[in-house]
Amino acid sequence: MIRILLRYIILFVLTLLVLAGLSFSLAYLFPGDVLANLTGITAQNEMQRAALAQQFHLDSGYIVQFYHYLKNLLTGNWGYSFISGMPLSEEVRLALPATIELATYAMLLAIVIGIPVGCYAGLRSYTAADYTINSASMIGYSFPVFWLALLFILMFSLEWNIAPLSGRISLLFEVPPKTGFILIDILFADNINRLLAFRDALHHLMLPTLAISVISIASMVRITRRSVIEVKNKPFVAAARTRGLSQGQIFYRHILRNALLPILPLMAIQITTLITNAMIVETLFSWPGIGNWLIQAIYQRDYPALRIGMLAVAFMVVTLTILIDLFNRVIDPSREKYERVAV
């Protein structure tokens, strides 16, 4: 157990080092001045420039520079945005939770809907119901997320006017970003009608969450269905059946648990897709998340922001992936290694 943990920690640290190295080298790869790319400050005069270069040890070798870069990263000194002039740590702190929030709700929806539907289809495999669910999930899975989001906007917002199409909450509510998660922030906010704000926020959440989760639900259904079918045909299920267990008992005691185990690592892959989709959807719904922020940064060639944004997103995704992997390893040590099966 400890050995596994240790291995994962080493893996985690190594990966982060590689990512940090990548983000460091970006400062050199991006067009323009290395110092400006690193700090986000365009030096006004030679003296300031020299001071900054000194701080980042630009005159030393790459290794020394990287060491100091790491030190700066760890102390939260991430540099400044070219465009807004704000500290990047602050901007990321505001943007990242918005994306996590959106992705979490979409994932929850995918689990809550996808797994039961998938189980149902799996149990009824090769019946009409299964074909219907399977085809529906195939269709859902094939939607380009930006088009789906546009269709939702056209239908729900513009045609029927049941959901707003931009932002996280009506700007009339002044919700100070304490945690960055809007629903939690509302609870902390003073001077507003919390119930009204909560409803307003839920409304704003509706369309983007739905747009992302359609695709996640579809893949969740497919994964679950496949897994259930595989488990269903295992000898131990047949054995259980011959023992005269009821359908329900077989399902809950034998099939469900064994089918859910291999789903977990697949969810890890889902996270990458999920975050990509969330980032695209954010731009359409003006959701103030990291995806929207990064895309604005690339349009405006805000290199320090790109450097840090890339690190932040990669860090988030890698952490989640490794955590899920680890969790999976802990609850099911029997398997040496899961193969990453596609959906």
């Binding site: 085809s135 380009p144 088009w147 546009l150 996270i271 895309i295 890339m310 997103v313």
Partner: protein
């Protein structure tokens, strides 16, 4: 002695033929294949199919509705866009650009992936483990992020976005190849060839590669659908193909400006992407279940 051969009458279908039979038995999969073939045809012969030049602006016919609408004309099957360009021609060319570039990049990714994966699979020990873990990390980074970085370094453009997606797709090919090669290397027939004195290259070309092709085709279709979505998403975000190059995502983004006046400018390109991806997914799914059935029989 009577002249008969015991085996003459029987045909032994090759595994490939058997897969094809299983595949054909599924009507949906077959329809998907036909649709895919149509897209492929468009991609190859777009210049012969289209009635107009896709970037030829015609200011006398701005925003003409599609032919099935009241004000539409049959001259422009899918109507025209805000610059008077024929939407049908643009979409056909868009299929060519989107589908063609996706296909190309999947092939590149596959080639790279198989090469690296095989090497990693035949190696063992620490080196292999390092490669593997690094790839896991790379796989976790969203394509969009890789694309943004590449665009920031070398600038926008279809080719640059293709590189980004290739980079994002390669790891999974490496992963599958590596796993496959490893499990295959343990099998007796490989051992037999090895005892016969086959070197690594011969082992690969004669024993492993033929067995790998099916896996590659299945993974390839999967990767293709992802590639199409990614290429068009980047085009849509204006990080990939730049106007006036007709790329479906970029066409869709163009149409967004006139979404209320001319909804077909948003609906039709999106629908084409959707259909293309759906067809590929159906074919991929059909292939996989055909393979599964063949193995189980």
């Amino acid at each position: 002695m009577s002249q008969f051969s015991l085996y003459e009458e029987e045909s032994h279908p090759t595994p490939l033929q058997r897969t094809w039979r299983e595949f054909r038995a599924s009507h949906i999969a077959f329809v998907g294949l036909v649709v895919l073939a149509v897209f492929f045809f468009f991609a190859l012969f777009a210049p012969l199919v289209v009635p107009y030049d896709p970037i030829q602006q015609n200011l006398n016919s701005l925003l003409i509705p599609p032919s099935w609408e009241r004000n539409g004309t049959i001259d422009h099957l899918f109507g025209t866009d805000a610059l008077g360009r024929d939407v049908f021609s643009r979409i056909i060319y868009g299929c060519r650009v989107t589908f063609g570039s996706s296909l190309l990049l999947v092939i590149i990714a596959m080639g790279l992936g198989v090469t690296i994966g095989t090497v990693a699979g035949m190696l063992s020990g620490v080196r292999s483990s390092v490669v593997n873990h690094l790839l896991d990390a790379l796989m976790a980074i969203p394509t969009l992020l890789i694309a943004i970085i590449i665009v920031a370094v070398v600038g926008t453009g279809l080719v640059n976005s293709m590189w980004a997606i290739t980079l994002a797709l390669t790891p999974q090919f490496i992963h599958y190849t590596r796993t496959f090669v490893r499990s295959e290397m343990k099998k007796e027939y490989v051992l037999a060839s090895r005892l016969d004195g086959a070197n690594a290259w011969q082992l690969f070309t004669h024993s492993i590669l033929p067995n790998m092709i099916e896996m590659l085709v299945v993974q390839g279709t999967l990767a293709l659908s992802i590639a199409i979505i990614d290429v068009s998403a980047l085009g849509f975000l204006n990080l990939g193909a730049q106007p006036p190059l007709p790329e479906l995502g970029a066409i869709l983004a163009d149409g967004l400006d006139v979404a209320y006046l001319a909804p077909w400018n948003v609906a039709l390109p999106g629908l084409s992407i959707f259909l293309m991806v759906l067809a590929i997914n159906i074919v991929g799914d059909g292939l996989r279940s055909a393979l599964r059935k063949r193995v189980s029989r």
